[in-house]
């Protein structure tokens, strides 16, 4: 049963990704259903993430299901020293599926191995966050009409930003070309550079935002996350390096759309919000439909 879990975006092949995107379009047309009536979904957030949790919980409630869980490890028994193994085994006695966010990388994979009910990874440390990736793909598909042959600029924290890593893996099926824009301290990890090379995905790397976005179809901005830094001095130094301003969009392509996994801090100036190329709020809303599609898929509904 646990093989229906969604831990990493690589758990889904191209067909399954497209199946989720199709289903999400259906849910967008008709988001309120009762297909989860009588089902209980647990949301276990060992690390707080209000946005992701509310999105998953809304997805369940709009399909007629019920939600149990916790929003912070401080209110769970893990603060008493309970192992992840015991928490998952206990909760799987009550719930039909488990949505979990955990601060340590690999926690969701481990949970999926021991859980008799499907696990949906809502983020394991800096590793994977597949529902975010699928909603990113859905947003790209919706705004560009296709996923194929797009020029995607990715800017900000490419070292710790897991959304970026998963986006690269998921887009690898669709012949993209990437431009990675990051300060030296936060440039793309070697393993994802190797991934691009092995999969024949063309990419460039640069440290300047400016005119490097003018040929892009998608500009994917990410937050420089303070919690990923050991050294707060280094955080302060790099956090304001990348700020997108409305004036910088003047010579960009008309079909350009700006995505951001949110929350943003300083990396997109508020004057960008009114530009029709800003898509990050709609992107967040798309997450609801994607999560309805994922929950339905893992439960084979």
């Amino acid at each position: 049963m646990s093989n229906r879990s969604l831990v990493s975006i690589s758990d889904y092949n191209k067909e399954e990704i497209l199946e989720i995107l199709d289903a999400a379009a259906d849910f967008e047309a008709n988001p309120n259903r009762s297909t989860l009536k009588g089902k209980v979904i647990a949301t276990l957030f060992f690390e707080p993430s209000t946005r992701t949790r509310l999105s998953f919980e809304t997805a369940v409630l709009r399909l007629g299901g019920s939600v149990i869980g916790f929003s912070d490890a401080a209110t769970s028994s893990s603060v008493k020293g309970e192992t992840l193994n015991d928490t998952i085994r206990m909760v799987s006695c009550y719930a039909d599926a488990i949505v979990m966010r955990h601060p340590f990388e690999g926690a969701a994979r481990y949970a999926a191995e021991i859980s008799p009910v499907p696990i949906i990874n809502a983020g394991d440390g800096a590793n994977q966050h597949p529902s975010q990736t699928l909603l990113d793909l859905y947003s790209i598909l919706k705004t560009q009409g296709t996923l194929d042959n797009l020029k995607i600029c990715v800017a900000g924290d490419l070292k710790y930003g897991r959304t970026v890593h998963s986006l690269i893996m998921a887009m690898s099926y669709f012949h993209p070309s990437f431009r990675f824009i990051a300060p030296e301290e936060l440039k793309l990890n070697e393993e994802y550079r190797i991934f691009c090379l092995r999969n024949n995905i063309p990419f460039e790397e640069t440290t300047e935002l400016n005119e490097n976005i003018n040929d892009a179809d998608i500009l994917y901005m990410t937050r420089v996350q303070r919690e990923r830094f050991q050294d707060l001095m280094e955080y302060e130094r790099v956090k304001n390096v990348y700020t997108l301003k409305n004036s910088m969009l003047e010579n960009t392509k008309p079909n350009l759309r700006i995505l951001h996994p949110l929350p943003r801090v300083a990396e997109i100036s508020p004057d960008v919000d009114k530009n029709e190329k800003a898509y990050y709020f709609q992107q967040a809303q798309n997450g609801l439909y994607i999560r309805q599609a994922i929950i339905s898929k893992v439960l084979s509904i």
């Binding site: 990493s8 192992t83 992840l84 193994n85 955990h102 601060p103 340590f104 990388e105 690999g106 926690a107 994979r109 481990y110 394991d124 440390g125 800096a126 590793n127 994977q128 070697e190 393993e191 190797i194």
Partner: protein, 151 residues
């Protein structure tokens, strides 16, 4: 000539030869030879035409299983394993990295769940003509062979 003498000195057991000198003690600990009761002869910093200074380990009366000796490929991929019976080499065992490595390697990622809870480690070996790497089954981090940490 020298090699024949060394091998001949062991009646029955295993000879691990051509270990780079700086890796010798890692091999000792990885095979738990520090707590092994058999007669063991360890030589180190011996001159070697191939690798400069080498180490050699002779374990009397013990034949290692292949999955044991294959672990050596993690830290000394060019070591030579000879199985000896009645002073004769009865098996020259080629070293090859297994496709999966369980438990003996510690994940390099300090934020990996296996470094925080009692979970046996598990790595897939990604073989590539240029660069063989281990991929943590849990945190998905790639580790180069020269960065592998043995538990």
């Amino acid at each position: 000539m020298e090699k024949e003498l060394k091998v001949a000195a062991l009646r029955n057991g295993t000879v691990i030869d051509h270990i780079p000198a700086d890796k010798l003690y890692k091999v000792v600990f990885m095979l738990h030879l520090d707590t092994c009761d058999n007669q063991i002869t360890i030589g180190n910093n011996l001159e070697s035409a191939k690798i400069g200074k080498k180490g050699i380990i002779k374990i009397s009366g013990k034949v290692f299983a292949e999955d044991e000796t294959n672990k050596i490929a993690l830290i000394a991929p060019n070591a030579k394993i000879n199985i000896i019976k009645d002073f004769q080499v009865i098996e020259k065992r080629p070293l090859s990295l297994p496709d999966e490595i369980h438990e003996i390697v510690q994940c390099n990622n300090p934020n990996c769940i296996t470094n925080h809870q009692n979970i046996p480690t598990f790595f897939q070996v990604i073989k590539d003509e240029n660069d063989t790497m281990l991929k943590c089954h849990y945190c998905e981090r790639l580790i180069k062979l020269d960065e592998v940490k043995i538990k």
